[in-house]
Amino acid sequence: MTGIARLFTARRGVGRLHWTDWVSYAFLAVAVVLMFGPVLWLVLSSFKTPAALLEFPPTLAPVAQKEVRVEGYPQPLPLFSVPMEDGTVRQLAQVRRVGIIAQMVDPASPAATVRVPVDKRTPVREVAFAFENYIEPLAKFDFLRFLGNSLFVTVVATLITLVINSMAAYALSVYEFKGKSLAMLGVIGTLMIPITIILVPVYLVVTEMGLVNSLWAVILPGAATPTGVFLLRQYMLTIPRDLIEAARMDKASEWRIYARIVMPLSLPALAVLAIFSIMWRWNDFLWPLAVLTKSEVHTLQIALNAFQGELQTQWHYLLAMTVVTLAPVAIVFAFLQRFITTGIANTGMK
């Protein structure tokens, strides 16, 4: 704790704080609230019961009104605290409400009912996590399947991307051949063609291949990424040519040079590309939206979007599923933060 305190009150250098330091730390403090706050709010909200979500103004923590079982009443009754005329405060369960008067009983002595004006009583709350927000959509609304679809797309697409991109990068970095500059030009050219521009014709191609409403329609079109070829090629160029020639002297076939020498030595670059690819695929939206129209092939992102329209926004489910969608990315980021940020800073891509 003192460490955190020092974090905000001292600068790394020597000497007293300059006013610019104060401005900097104020800026950062606001940034922490603004950047983390919304996500934190989402996570807290996702554990609230539907009733708690409807409250206005909302409470910070996921709380719900306490309910008690009272002898003689089949349903659990909501608990309120009521100030009595003698000045004491008692906790009473509400049996029913008629107009502005509530009929209440003391759970300890359920025989006698007390009549209390509605505005006198205040609900008794307790912290309650509504885990059913998570469990029900996963079970009822097929979210488990969407999760599976997203996982399948992410894993398979990333594997394909890694293999074909690295093969192309290997050809473009290790060999001299006719048409090499043309191939490089093709890679740079595709860099300029975002899917947004060729949405319709790619749809035609995918339709002709009979892939509409199949996960392969999402996986295949983006598998060959120009960025990936670029990144890997630049890295492979730094592998000493001696190693490749040594392997040739060792009677290795070109395939083995690729698979046993160049690939293992390119692992850092492959890891960066893998993380990027996972991120792209997991978060992909526009193209799946266009090509996946049946709900059983929806990915998480599409399902989330569909969910908010179709159910007149059942926020308690929607928020929980948003957290589920966000969680893998957050976990990956927590572990690989430094790796990802330096990777992006070094390559200038995302």
Binding site: D242, E245, A247, M249, K251, P264
Partner: protein
């Protein structure tokens, strides 16, 4: 084990000719060293033999088979690179086993061969290590081991000792010589270091500017250099190369004075020639017998031998090697005499010319 035949090898990089027609044949089991200054084409020639470079012209024949168009991986040669080119992600064992796996050798056989080579090279304790965890000398031995396990037709070495420090270089040089004696394969070795060339080679190939200057056994090159380049390149310190002339009767003149008993012949009369004499073939003598009189500029006392750097009239610069320790100091004036039997004369084109020598007078 195999012999090698190079015929009229040419290699151009665009307009630049790196090899300008190289002919050479190497016998089975021979240890041949390519030596020459940097940029002479020796490494390119080795890579042509390996199959890592294509030729612009000429043919490479191994064991009577034309392999000019055969890719490196199918020639059956092994190469030790200057950088060693060890696979950094594989253990020492895997580095040595890689080629055998590529050849489809059975697992037990691979294991036996790797262990045998490792024992020979004192690498048994390091088989599980990655190259990064080895010292320079150990990496060097792994690189050699990787070649040995292959049992290749020819071993190629591309300046394999240049990344080692002086002490290790001497030790490894000896090991290489012992290795050749033990396994006896055909070896081709590229270096710019003439000590390596002299000590290791059965035959030395001196290259300069993309051509072979001379091929021969080390001492033959030393004793009978075919031209000015070889004379200057082989031997350390360098051979003294003195501008000289030939007078009308065919006798050699040095600084205007005839050198008694040295007659390159009348066909060179009037030409400017170069007189070559190695530092150890210059001796001190009594003044009347002197071929030249020089003043000492610098003395290097090495204990076992002494080097004198001296100069005389007409820009005469001489390096003199004397046995043992000599009581000579800077500025001393010394009369010197050249060993008549060990003189070399090169014509204006740089070719060695036979010397007509008067019968050796008992000194």
């Amino acid at each position: 084990m195999a012999g090698l035949e190079l015929r009229a090898i040419r290699k151009d990089y665009g307009p630049v000719a790196v090899l300008k027609g190289v002919d050479l044949s190497i016998a089975d089991g021979e240890f041949v060293v390519f030596v020459g200054p940097s940029g002479c084409g020796k490494s390119t020639l080795l890579r042509v033999i390996a199959g890592l470079e294509t030729v612009t012209g000429g043919a490479v024949t191994i064991d009577g088979q034309d392999v000019t168009r055969v890719p490196a991986s199918d020639r059956g040669l092994a190469m030790v690179f200057q950088s060693y080119a060890l696979y950094p992600h594989m253990s020492v064992y895997d580095n040595m086993a890689f080629a055998l796996e590529n050849m489809g050798v059975a697992k037990p056989e691979i294991d036996a061969r790797v262990r045998r080579a490792a024992a020979m090279l004192r690498l048994t304790d390091y088989l599980a290590r990655k190259p990064g965890a080895l010292s320079g000398g150990q990496r060097q031995r792994v690189a050699i081991g990787r070649a040995i396990v292959r049992d290749p037709k020819i071993f190629l070495f591309d300046e394999p000792l240049s990344n080692l420090d002086a002490e290790l270089r001497v030790a490894t040089r000896k090991e290489l010589a012992a290795l050749h004696a033990e396994i006896g394969g055909t070896m081709i070795y590229v270096t710019h270091d003439q000590v390596e060339a002299m000590t290791l080679a059965d035959r030395i190939v001196v290259l300069n500017g993309g051509r072979i200057e001379q091929v021969g056994r080390p001492l033959d090159l030393y004793n009978e250099p075919a031209n000015l380049f070889v004379a200057g390149f082989i031997g350390s310190p360098r051979m003294n190369l003195l501008p000289a002339g030939v007078d009308a009767v065919g006798a050699l003149t040095l600084a205007g004075r005839a050198l008694a008993g040295v007659t390159p012949g009348a066909q060179l009369a009037g030409e400017a020639v170069t007189l070559g004499v190695r530092p150890e073939h210059v001796g001190l003598c009594a003044a009347p017998e002197a071929d030249a009189t020089v003043a000492v500029d610098l003395v290097e006392q090495l204990g076992g031998e002494t080097f004198l750097y001296a100069s005389g009239q007409a820009d005469l610069k001489l390096t003199i090697r004397l046995d043992g320790q000599v009581g000579v100091g800077r500025g001393d004036i010394l009369p010197v005499r050249f060993d008549r039997a060990r003189l070399h004369v090169f014509d204006a084109a740089g070719r060695a010319r036979p010397l007509g020598l008067a019968p050796r007078s008992p000194a």
